[in-house]
Amino acid sequence: MDAAKNCRKLKAIDEAIGMIKKGSRVLIGGFGNAGDPKKLIEGLCISGTDELVVMSNDLGSPNEGLGKLLSNNQVRGLIGTYYNWNPEVAMAYNEGKIFVELVPQGTFAEAVRAAGVGIPAFYTLSGVGTEIAKGKEEKTFGEKTYLLQEALKADVALIKAHKADVLGNLVYYKTARNFNPVMAMAADLVIAEVDELVPGGELDPESIVTPHIFVDVLVLGGGDR
């Protein structure tokens, strides 16, 4: 495949996963089994790299997808929004095996974006007056009180896109987009799993969602879009 030959960013999955160090903070895209980088997650499980802090919306299902990282004892902590689809998270937390930092979903997305665009913190209305607000600085603007949320920066982001060109420009597919373009901006090392690699110039510049400046490594996935 010519596109593959001309792509400096393309790596084998194990080679890409080998770049992730023990104890890393890892952003992982996806929402409820749509848009999670399945091959990269599988590779991370096989690698056994542990002490990870996984930053994602959810943690898949028990022993499935991202859930497998927890079953494998590779997780030190979780920062995310919704673990009700995987009851093993609450169990591991209750047993003191992992820490969990729950963040409202919109605040989580914006905190990741903030990290990616050089904003250290921001104020938001979400969660004011709730348990989530405990320990967070508050400030009143106009008539309303807001919570201070710090940016959520990571060492690595594992994301999923539909197509990449040889430079690493990315386009997405339907609701598999979700957190992926945001996470692509917020880590020192960004690895994107894609279904298809196309020659440079083939993607319509108007349709590119993630410009290649954000993408370090590309891997070919299983084609689940």
Binding site: G106, E110, D224
Partner: protein
């Protein structure tokens, strides 16, 4: 009065809320939660009502049939859905920007408890089995109007509209409307007003099942129910 069968009650609640949205003459953007809120979509008949899903879609169509299912086209409850002409996809930041920025006109959510001060508890029952907040706090804080759709009492007959929430709250004073199979309530300047009462229940009966203090609205009437 005899309690309504659960399915009848849920359909009535979803239908009643849909009638509010069907009145619109200009585009109306609505985010529906899981459970009864999802059923509201079944009764929307106005093509100026557009559904938003926080996982990154505007213009949701109905649930996908078995042959049209696409695992990468889901709503926020992970249900495979369909597209409508003019629908769009976007990332999670844009999605919650719509919500937090006040561009989403209303959200409909379920609840465990609502109290007399307009607080809602719907994200967690602290039993050690759940850990998750999802988009609930963003939705109640950001959407311009918050509709609570829930059965009036628990399956054990315990009122859900109480004086003060006992469970961890999702938002402080954010509720605008509460619709149950028995009544339609509205919060106005921190006061709970009864707008409508279901045909088969008396005010006295409703009071025994509603622990949050309320008064009758000036426009108080019998609640329309689906035929």
């Amino acid at each position: 009065m005899k309690p309504l069968a659960e399915e009848v009650a849920k359909k009535r609640i979803a239908w009643r809320i849909a009638q509010e949205f069907n009145k619109t003459e200009s585009p109306l953007f609505i985010n529906l939660g899981v459970g009864i809120p999802t059923m509201v979509a079944d009764y929307i008949t106005n093509n100026q009502v557009f559904l938003q899903a926080e996982n990154g879609m505007l213009g949701l169509g109905p649930a996908a049939s078995e042959e049209k299912k696409d695992r990468m086209l889901i709503n926020a409850g992970r249900i495979p859905i369909t597209e409508t002409p003019g629908c769009s996809f976007f990332d999670s930041c844009t999605s919650f920007g719509m919500i937090r920025g006040g561009h989403v006109d209303a959200t409909v959510i379920g609840a465990f408890e609502v109290d007399g001060e307009g607080n809602v508890a719907n994200w967690i029952i602290p039993n050690g089995k759940q850990l998750g907040v999802g988009g609930a706090m963003d939705l109640v804080a950001g959407a311009r109007q918050v509709y609570i759709s829930m059965t009036h009492c628990t399956k054990q007959g315990k009122p859900k509209m109480i004086e003060t929430c006992t469970l961890p709250i999702t938002g402080h004073g954010e509720v605008d409307f509460v619709v149950t199979e028995l009544a339609f309530f509205r919060f106005e300047k921190g006061r709970l007003l009864l707008e409508e009462i279901a045909p088969e229940v008396t005010l006295e009966e409703l009071k025994t099942m509603t622990l949050a203090p309320f008064s009758r609205s000036q426009n108080f009437r019998v609640m329309p129910v689906p035929g």
